[in-house]
Amino acid sequence: MSVPAKTKTGFLDSLEKSPATDIFLKGLWRKNPTFVQVIGMCPVLAVSNTAENALAMGLATAFVLLMSNTLVSILRFVIPKQVRISCYILIIATFVTMADYAIQAMSVELHKALGAFISLIVVNCLILGRAEAFASKNTVETSVLDALGMGAGFTFALFCLGAVRELLGNGSLFGIAVFPASFQEWVVMMLPAGGFFTLALWLFIFNAVKRAKQNKERGKALP
């Protein structure tokens, strides 16, 4: 019984030690853009009213982040530092426009639900922040990994919010009814205020988990 458990921890250890997975996990968990860095809050609060909207918004942002990080990293020796911000914005805006058309071509309903927030990905500080702080200083491979990690972290956070809000506010998940018809919906969860409540709840859970882990490590260090 103890043998598979041992190999499992060994595998996880080697995963955490490898620098590539470390960069990816940093975005997904340790420096999660929403739960730890608390940046790019506008779409997090506005379009997380259903699980589907949240997932679509998260994926669109992750796509733009991946493409802009890649391009910024490729062009990092070409872009003069005096005009770097305008170059980044130009690149980001291009991919946002492409994502906008792609979502329209996928579903009119989805495009209607996300509305102006797709175009507003341009000014999401998460994307410009990663371009400026990471992609412009690192190789293409690590920038791609960073974008994948941060994008996954952002999508995960948005989905966490969207799932809770849809469950309580509409009694369903991905449009499929979960609770019986007698369930009284919490209308406030569908309203903007519900976004704040849910975000606070998740931040509380995230920090509680982190604190518990820290305490445990401190306990180990002190014999």
Partner: protein, 227 residues
Amino acid sequence: MQTMSQADTTEPTISLKMLKAMVGIGIVCACLIALTFEYTLPRIENLKAEALNKAISIVIPGMVTKKTFGVDRNNNLLEVNNKDKSPHLLYAGYDENGKLMGLAVEASGIGFGGVLRILYGYDPEKQAITGFHVLESKETPGLGDKIEKSSDFLENFRALDVSLNEDNVTLKHKITVVKNGAKKNPWEIDGITGATISSRAIGNILADSTRQMAPLINRHKSNLEKN
């Protein structure tokens, strides 16, 4: 003078580099956007037309083919091409034998959260509204959007009376929204408790639109009936 000449030699190269980088990125980005636009355009237009067709077949049950009409400045009904960009106002739906099944009319007004655009079905035989479908709405989820979901409210529109007077120009009764449960006449709408403004907005939009459209449709009835 020395500093001037130094500046002369370095400044243009930096500016040129900046210019090259920005113009280069700009051109690449413009190409990418143009390509995406060209590639997705047919699909987007298809989806939009599909959504509109679906909405029309909801308010005109049994529709097989349709014709699109617009209203010109002199209050005349004109058939317009589907590819025309002018605002479409009226759709006539026919069954497979070419019989007029009903009309779908586009109308809009101000709701609680902003512009509310709807499509309603009108039966020229019964002179009644037979249903409506929300095309665009910014009503509060959970409260104002009951206008789309509440079956009690939608029941009002099974046969909402908008019959014309003998002169064929004015309506006999104006559509009015009353308090929930107070509906007595076929031209009244039972409002929704908790969505008062949104349900009243629907009533106002229908009242405004039918005042203009019902006499117009009646005048061009023979025109609409032939397919």
